[in-house]
């Protein structure tokens, strides 16, 4: 029997998801034994026309990492969708938008303004900014257009499964590959990680009281962080209550609070709203009946950057998707 064909592809990504595949170490050989990798730009020679030449659905599964930011990326993932039986969004960027998704707080213009004109080491008296077309006298050089808005993979093409994490951990990657190889797949649309909140599996969960009240918000540099106590108990914002488990609580074990890269659990539409709600509920809970409007405003002001904190990894996938550009009706 012919081995199933597998493709790996990346859009706006950092390369960490590729490293995560290399970090399978010996297991990578098991994978290459069982499947036929037809596309892996970091490792194998490929041309778009090779992919075009495949018949529709010929690729058993495409793993796509990175957010979608340029027209080229969009075209390529659309092509892969046609040619693939299954598409798996691999990593936070493809799943939720990830860190590059924070670009949705800005516009192309402000990004250019900062990068090419305002940064103090830039010497640019003529105010040059990169152009989609530059006539250099002997010819024309072109650059792809950057979209204003960073998109997740499922905002671009239909996605069958999601492998969460920045980057996804090796055990979940191997589970996913095995599930695909043996055909033991859950329903379409499933996130291939446990459907539990981080708090349910956290080694610190026992230190989190039933009725938890945060008297004030602390920043991680303001206190000596206790390596055993729930971060919320210590006044530090942890996205554990609004985040899916399955990473092995890696950041928490390094004594730093979760920032939510695994995204929400099933049924939660907007991870940031869920996190906001969870934090607001326990903020000043003790004595809430006596709290004045000013008191609660003071507590709220201690959260310096709610949007960037609650949507650290999920801004493009949020209900609002981005900061409003000047009102244009949509």
């Amino acid at each position: 029997m012919a081995k199933p064909k597998v493709a790996f592809y990346w859009c706006a990504s950092c390369g960490g998801c590729e490293e995560a595949v290399v970090d399978l170490n010996e297991d990578i050989l098991k994978v290459t034994d069982a499947v036929d990798i037809v596309l892996w730009p970091v490792a194998l020679d490929f041309r778009r026309k090779d992919v075009e030449a495949l018949s529709d659905g010929e690729i058993a599964v495409s793993f796509i990492n990175g957010a979608v930011r340029t027209e080229e990326q969009e075209e390529m993932v659309k092509l892969l969708r046609e040619k693939s039986g299954l598409v798996v969004a691999f990593g936070s960027c493809a799943h939720l938008g990830g860190i590059p998704g924070l670009g949705n707080f800005c516009t192309r213009e402000t990004i250019f303004q900062t990068a090419y004109k305002e940064t103090p080491s830039t010497e640019n008296p003529e105010g040059t900014v990169p152009q989609e077309k530059t006539d250099i006298g002997i010819g024309v050089l072109t650059l792809p257009e950057l979209y204003n808005t960073v998109k997740t993979l499922n905002q671009t093409i239909p996605v069958d499964y999601y492998l969460p994490g920045c980057p996804p951990p090796p055990d979940l990657i191997m589970n996913a590959i095995n599930a695909i190889l043996t055909g033991q797949l859950p329903d379409k649309g499933t996130v291939l990680a446990p459907n539990k909140a981080q708090c349910d599996t956290c080694p610190r969960a026992d230190t989190k009281p039933e009725k938890l009240s945060m008297a004030e918000i602390k920043r991680p540099w303001e206190i000596k962080i206790d390596p055993e106590k729930c971060f919320l108990v210590q006044g530090l914002i942890c996205l554990g209550p609004a985040t899916r488990s399955g990473c092995g609580e890696t950041c928490i074990r390094a004594n730093m609070p979760c920032r939510g890269c695994f995204g929400p659990i099933d049924g939660v539409i907007d991870q940031g709203a869920r996190a906001l709600s969870a934090i607001a509920s326990i903020l000043g809970l003790e004595g809430e009946e006596k709290m004045t409007e000013e008191d609660s405003q003071k507590l709220i002001d201690q959260i310096a950057d709610p949007a960037g904190t609650f949507y650290r990894f999920s801004l493009p996938s949020s209900l609002l998707t981005r900061k409003r550009m000047e009102y244009t009706g949509g």
């Binding site: 950092c14 730009p41 970091v42 194998l44 080229e72 924070l102 530059t134 730093m256």
Partner: protein, 490 residues
């Protein structure tokens, strides 16, 4: 008139492309290396709390996240004017050296090294890690994987995950190291030292004893007389984590030595309309276009540049190797781009020796890992030597530590102009009268591999991973020939 355009490196991915324009005689007029992507970290980090930066800027690059994490953490020290505890400094240094050794070895064996070990003229299909294993033996191949695994375990112990660590705080680190973990780290360090020595002796046997290879290293195609930059310690020895920035001129004379906080007096970035990536140069020499020599402000960074900019290595075995390299290549500075590979191995050895040295320190397991800041934050600058060169982070904040300005100069930006020059030089030496030699791709790819450019930092290509597609067109735009090859196969 015949116009030949050498059109892009897999245009579709937006991962980088080269365009070469010929003049009327069919010789190369200009070559352009374009970087087609920008993610805007400097803009979208504004408004974030500064202490989150070590966990945001790591995502600039999944290949060198530790470099960004560390540069960012040091910037926080400077921002809050807080000195890390002695234990914290040791933990950070230890992690940083483990990372440097791991990264260098990976890229030597998987990426750049195959050119030499398997041979520059071997078929592309063999110039990969499998070819290397064929040449040095299966056991050694297994060792490469084992060393990577062990050193990445050190990164996991200290930072949480090997890709995108999370432990950096102003004034220290979040987590202490246990005695058991320390023992594991010692073993990893020893393994790495042995392995790097083996790698250098393999380089000796396979490369240095082969006259053809040596001729290639010292030949003119890849030579550029430029300035060099790198971090040095108080004895002017190479340091990856901390120190003063030293710049030497093309004759090897010290041109400048300054604190990271003074970088704006020395470094500038130039903008071209045809690339999203900027080009660094020395402010006090000036931007003179893509040209080398004393009068051009273009400088180089990364392994060879660091060795050129220093007076030696701080560890004994690496110092020996350093002396040997300069004795073999005719003294300092060495301008030959291919010598970057050799320098990379010497640095890997140095970093591994450091891991052993630091992991023997009992203070490493002290629980005293952080000093809490007390000052009001305003502005901070942090610099480390990333495997691919000097990395600058510079933040300004309001009095609450919320970012108001961010400037990042990533390692590869420093080398961007030299890489573009190397590409052009290779093109010029291989394209004549409209005839494109098959060797072109070889040479262009070797130039890339030597720098090990991390396009992920500016785009998202794994270091040096540049699938090349060269399209040759006549003046009507008809395709005449197509050559293609991937730069990396493993």
């Amino acid at each position: 008139m015949k116009k030949i355009t050498i059109d892009p490196i897999t245009r579709l991915e937006g991962h980088g492309k080269i365009e070469i324009f010929l003049n009327d005689d069919g010789d190369v007029d200009r070559a352009y290396l374009q970087i087609p992507e920008l993610r805007g970290f400097e803009e979208f980090c504004i408004g974030r709390p500064a202490e989150e930066m070590p966990r945001i800027t790591t995502m600039i690059c999944g290949v060198c996240p530790t470099a960004h994490h560390m540069a960012s953490t040091k910037t926080l020290d400077d921002l809050w004017k807080v000195e890390p505890t002695s234990t914290a400094k040791k933990i950070r240094r230890l992690m940083y050296n483990a990372f440097t050794a791991e990264d260098h070895i990976l890229h030597f064996f998987f990426l750049g090294g195959p050119d030499f070990i398997v041979g520059p003229t071997a078929p592309a299909a063999e110039r990969n890690i499998l070819g290397v294993i064929g040449k040095v033996g299966l056991e050694a191949g297994g060792k490469v994987i084992e060393m990577r695994k062990r050193l990445r375990n050190v990164l996991r112990i200290i930072g949480g995950k090997p890709v995108h660590p999370s432990m950096g705080l102003p004034g220290g680190v979040s987590k202490a190291i246990s005695e058991e973990e320390r023992k594991e780290i010692i073993e990893a360090g020893k393994y790495a030292v042995d392995f790097c020595q083996f790698a250098l002796s393999a380089f000796d046997d396979i490369v240095l004893k082969n006259k053809d290879y040596v001729d290639l290293i010292v030949g003119d195609v890849f030579k550029h007389r430029t300035y060099y930059m790198g971090l040095v310690d108080e004895n002017n020895k190479v340091n990856f984590y901390d120190g003063m920035i030293r710049v030497v001129d093309p004759n090897g004379k010290e041109f400048a030595k300054f604190r990271p906080q003074e970088y704006l007096d020395h470094v500038r970035e130039h903008v071209e309309p045809w690339s999203y990536m900027k080009f660094c140069y020395l402010k006090n020499v000036g931007w003179k276009g893509f040209t080398d020599g004393e009068d051009s402000g273009i400088y180089r960074v990364a392994p060879l540049a660091r060795l050129n900019a220093s007076d030696g290595m701080a560890t004994p075995l690496a110092q020996e190797a350093y002396e040997k390299m300069y004795a073999t290549l005719g003294g300092k500075p060495v301008h030959n781009t291919l010598a970057f590979h050799w320098a990379r191995l010497i640095e890997a050895l140095c970093a591994s020796e450091r891991v052993v040295e630091l992991s023997h320190d009992p203070e490493l397991t002290s629980p005293d890992t952080v000093n809490l800041p007390t000052e009001t934050p305003r502005e901070g600058i942090g610099v480390v030597e990333a495997p691919r060169g000097t990395l600058f982070h510079h933040y300004q904040t309001d009095e609450r530590g919320i970012l108001t300005k961010v400037n990042l100069i990533v390692a590869t930006t420093n080398n961007m102009a030299p890489i573009a020059m190397s590409v052009e030089k290779a093109a010029k030496s291989l394209i004549h009268k409209g005839e494109v030699s098959d060797g072109l791709l070889n040479m262009v790819e070797m130039a890339f591999r030597a720098y090990d450019p991390c396009m992920a930092c500016g785009t998202h290509t794994l270091p040096g991973q540049m699938p090349l597609e060269v399209l040759i067109r006549d003046y009507q735009g008809n395709e005449l020939r197509r050559l293609s090859r991937n730069l990396r196969e493993f």
